[in-house]
Point group: D4
Chain length 250, copies 8
């Protein structure tokens, strides 16, 4: 490709200015381009990690994104910060449980992607992280089926939903305490499982370390793990796989 551009410059079919743009340091590597293409191709909005940013910083980024008609998804926003941002960006939606703030371009017709993601949570205390996964996946264009409070201490609760879970395209399993749910789900399904350990628990849960280790050591195949309480990561990975499998609504 490089030689191509150079030949065009040589024979005058491309101006130095245009070639400079295409060959500017990181454009030359291709990844910035890919970055742009990805959004158009995949309909994935720009993700902003909101935890350590001020409302002002977020508003600045949000306006820039909206100017390009891009969707916006901001994670880990407190209600107060959400309110401050919504005062300026009233079309933004804030979800209390998942602490996500997002804006979807209403002009972009909803994707009607086949299949769904199963978001499975062990206990009621894991629901806020599970919702971060679920809403993330939904904003990214996936359908989500929620299976909450199906922890392994009452295995029949999970088994009752086994068929629905098995028919999902990909599962996100959210669990704190001993985090055993991921292994059991992993053994039940033939699709990828993204495991999200949570910091729910006390004492020897060591703020989620217990669930994290459990999931990393799972004897079931097809499980991979994201950071403790990283519901966003769970939802993003699931949506990424989901849309690759069912792109073109196939």
């Amino acid at each position: 490709m490089l030689e191509n551009i150079l030949r065009q410059v040589q024979n005058g079919s491309m101006s130095v200015e245009d070639a400079t743009k295409q060959l500017a340091p990181f454009e030359n590597l291709g990844f910035a381009k890919v970055d742009h293409h990805r959004k158009q191709r995949q309909g994935f909005p720009e993700i902003v990690y909101g935890e350590n940013k001020t409302a002002e910083q977020i508003i600045g980024i949000a306006r820039a994104l909206q100017a390009q008609n891009n969707e916006v998804l901001i994670t880990r926003i407190t209600p107060d910060k959400a309110e401050a941002i919504q005062n300026v960006c009233p079309s933004y939606v804030y979800d209390n449980t998942s602490r996500l703030l997002y804006w979807k371009n209403s002009e972009q017709a909803g994707v009607d992607r086949k299949g769904y993601i199963a978001v499975i949570a062990a206990g009621t205390s894991d629901i806020s992280v599970a919702e971060e996964a679920a809403v993330t996946a939904e904003v990214l264009g996936s359908k989500v089926h929620r299976f909450y409070d199906v922890g392994v201490a009452g295995i029949h609760r999970l088994l009752h939903h086994a068929e629905d879970i098995q028919q999902a395209t990909v599962s996100v399993v959210v669990a704190g305490m001993e985090g055993a749910l991921a292994s059991v789900v992993g053994g039940l399904v033939a699709h990828p499982v993204i495991a999200v350990p949570t910091s729910v628990g006390y004492g020897a849960s060591f703020n989620g370390l217990s669930a994290l280790l459990t999931m990393l050591n799972s004897c079931a195949s097809g499980i991979s793990v994201v950071n403790i309480d990283n519901g966003f990561g769970g939802g993003y990975n699931a949506a990424l796989i989901h849309q690759l499998i069912h792109r073109g609504n196939a």
Copy 2:
């Protein structure tokens, strides 16, 4: 009781020598006596932790115990050490899988205690620890049903045995890697579960830490935990509970 003895001394019905024996420092506390009574009452043999003892030390202890017609159970004995001891104590039985060495007094008629202990192991690699639990419980007079290779990654293998496990008096669950089996069993049964984490695994299993934390954080009630690879502890606790529940063969 103290006053009683003193009154007997005062009125001459007990000699100073006899009173001295009964009131000697730790006899006065009762625990040494209890120690003796425990063996007679419960048929529990003396347990010797064999790992850091020489064959000579163990032979010495074993002879003293046999002299009192007591049963003997020695843990963590290598085949070499077992052979050295058996040369001197040919009636001792060595179990290769559990690395236990023991001697049962043939004169003591076998207890025909009701009920059984379920020893449940997640994978084939956990079997040596599971056998340490099982053989310990058997030497201590309990019947044992073994359920091996029933890890949670194929939950149907466990569920297939659910009824047999539920009818046990107490369960010992042995699992390495993510150790999730304890929670699932704990949710299935209405009896006490002794969980034994094992060091089976690699990487983030951190030599059994993962399974240990899983079991300590179990969301199922009725589970308590012993040290990593402590099959003996699992079997001992189970047998202790079992024989208290079914003493008098009830």
Copy 3:
């Protein structure tokens, strides 16, 4: 049993509807049934982990349980949350020290089970966890004898109560800091000991890790361990063993 039901369907002695109910996925496995039977058979109330539930969620669960005339035990309830719940459920009892909220069906005549559980606490700072164990066991129908402030740094305080502790059916040992009490009690008694490490301490206690490791490594036999500060787990395990040993008030 399955074949039995099928034959009844075949010969018309059971309707398809009734068979469906009995053979529905997890009923077929037996654990849901067992779950129901367990309460009737054992008089054990449903346990609700209250820490991450809202007052509204708890009220909902509580009403459902009371509707079935079941007893209710909710753990880790703050005074504020307790008050909010009691406004709606005035018959509920709240225990400040143990932070337990419970309701006992007055119609169910109190069990007069033989024997008692010894709840033993090392220091005054461990008392709230010890009370969680003690009240849990009491709500579950066991008698409890309390032995508080008997830490090993003044071993005579413990030895003074040795006989009373030895006559218990099962002991719960609650200790923070170095947690050595479990080993000493374990060496004194011939019954099962449930050890509960607490987060009492500072510096190298690492929020209870020190006591937890101590208890897991105990050189005394017959000790098993629950999570740090898990007084409920200690009381539940003890009550479970106690009622199995003394069921039928024997």
Copy 4:
């Protein structure tokens, strides 16, 4: 489905024996069936974790699998054990670098699945784990492109291959020491990245903990992590996603 079967039994179109088979405890749950179907549908062989199994145990399992004409993949086999097994199963292939032993049914025509998996390794020391991922994926029917020795300390080595990596369907990134490669790759591609930390390193790498934490904390989206040195897990997850995206050779 259950009601369906029962109606057939009722109207005599299904024998009690056949219904019993289909409704036997865990068949009723559906997962065992799924298990069977999965192999036929996906061409995935049975995976055997070889580390703690004897040659004899493995030969037993292998014969059973071959009897059903199933492919076989056994992980973590030492050369000695491989030789012992190959003496009995001469058609088995052993790969020295990845320590995998496998048998592919020659009758099953090779899948010609579209796309490929990029297996990317940071250093030469990570190659054995990378090969475990690559060969696993290949045995499971995926094409693999290898990119080795492209660690971040010489970022141009990685960027040189950026385009080839970006065109993969899924990437497996294998790295020890600081494990930073996963984040850089994650930022370059628009497909899922499975990160495999390795125990390569010394001192504060703490046997792979450093690389594991790096990967779990990645600021790049679309990364999920498996256990330290779990090349198999990396390859399995990648192949699972790959074949779901390109099933039907699409």
Copy 5:
């Protein structure tokens, strides 16, 4: 001694009541007696760990101690709690820096013990822990010389005081961050060094773990270590050694 008492009972020179008192369970063991003697012999007050006790509990204990004219030392008292106690016990002294609350019997003439304890603190941030050590030792009757802000990053500050430190009877070294001061002092003196790590620091000090490990691994002989921030332990150990060396004011 036991036989002696019994003979007196036998010959009537001691009443059963008096013998009962002396032979009551734990009196018979001798440690409770020793406990009493220790206070009289050593002038050591009763120590109360104040952190988890209410003001009411402490007032109760304090009154009981004062009733016996015993000195009182209570550790880890917040200013608020101190004020509440002083309202009831106005003769109690509260030291803000060390958070110690104590009462010294004015009738007991001050000991004029030879020698002194060197309390050495690395930085100004370590002073509150150092003062807990120093005041503890003073309340226990030792003279204390303070050497503060003599951390190893400016070794001349310490060396300037080398002679004074060398002439102490025992040293208490208090240091956070890297805690290196203990080793340097240990290499300078020929008397015992009690090392007290503090939680001063941030990041990789891990709340005092760094200083604790440093002190435990000291290459200097004659150093022993107490818990993180345990100024009391440092002062108590030092005073105990000091008064044994210089008892009888020698």
Copy 6:
């Protein structure tokens, strides 16, 4: 030198008083002198760790330093404490982002040292630590170029600045989460890199441990590491190296 002074005393060319001053314990060792000379020679102000000092303590130290016309740099000062100090020392400058408080002697003409330090931060959340490094280096007389928000998840952002970073004399790399930026920068430049891990992140970042381990295990040469969040240390080390390389404005 010592012999020299003594000869001068012997021949009367130096008074005993003057010799005493020069030979006083730690002066004799030379390091205190060096300490003085260092400030004059290097223009480095005295550094005060402000975190655990009261405003009063800091004012006292500051006045002493100013009395000698020395510059002052105080780290980790909260806005409140800064205000209290500035009330007394109005010429002091407080920087909100870096929490540094400092005073530069206006009489000392600014150094016009060649070259600059590159302060590179991975994310916006790392900026406060990065600013502590940058302002520290500036107060110590170095020019600083800032490169913020150039984390590895979008490697082109960093590469865009590669040339500017390569031309720096020394780099300070500030990164939290996985901390991978240090390795990438280390591979791009031929000058020393001081890596500063930050506590930015959540879950398995374990308050900066993840970034710390990453940086310690870097496969790039020329990287050394300071404590978590120790921006001051990063800036100080960089300025020290910078001024040694470009002393005499060369």
Copy 7:
């Protein structure tokens, strides 16, 4: 003192050469002198940490020490290395259990110091560390009483020896596993206790971490701790305190 020497130089009563020697860098500080005096005054031999030294290095050091008629104590010597050294230094004594190699100057009449050190070991596996403490103390001139196999799981074994232990001048408590013995001994005695954790144990003992934490968190006063398996440190500290208390055979 400095001024004194200078005045002597000034008035000619001391030569420049003599003053130079006395004022040479570290002589001027006094610690090197003290170092020499310490040996003569205390009769303490030079201690050599043998673990990482070759036989040749040790022989070199040993000869230098013997040349000055100093006693020699070398720790952590394997039998092989001991034999190699004894071939050259036949008068050296090697103790197999403690792995100590030492040489005592036969001309120096044995000290007949009052009192004794109690070396107390929990289990038989702790004896090698306990012997390192005991023999170290003996080589340093103290009498030692050994109390072995008195772990807390059979508290009466310890209490049986309570009086003998209480009459010691100082105690060294050696324990692995849960390490609880230190707290119990600390509560029984009125003298300093040096606690030595050992690496005896398995699983969650984490190579002695469990015992170390137990001892650091002891609720008993008067306990200080040395490194894991540091029997030498325990013996040295005890002997140091012992000889300071009973110097002059008092």
Copy 8:
């Protein structure tokens, strides 16, 4: 620069081939060029991490390097591997203590750089790591002064060399166990200190963690840290700084 090249292509002064080479992906970024220039400009040889490479792999790399007349430095080579390589590359020098294997181009006249690096080791056991630092720096063209066995437990040994250490351009401090030496040296000198923790020690040294934490938490300014046992890193960093300060032999 990019525009420049393009203009040359446009006006025909540069061929497409030449422009392609200069603008090829990573050449365009400039770092590969820098990489080449660095060697010529700095005389730094290529570094090979030898630990996980076979003799064959190393010989291959070595020959390629020698073909370009580049110097070679290979770390962590066992004597066996060194011998195998030397059989093929007889001009290579192997250093037993540091386990370094290197080849210096004899045609390149030795640099006579001003100043020297101080390599300071705490104990004799740290010497192999210290030598890895020292020989690395020497191969990279720096003069090295060694100061060994100057640990802080005998501070006078270090102070005796204070002046020589202070006059170095940069110091490398190598220490295991408590690692306190880095802080003391850091407080003595006005130049950068590279601290290298070693794994020397036992018990709570946790394989170098103790020394690592000590060095990271140093209260002395001007210290930065490399990985445990990373003598190479210490030497490389020091040589890098040294040659930047004294380039042009200034």
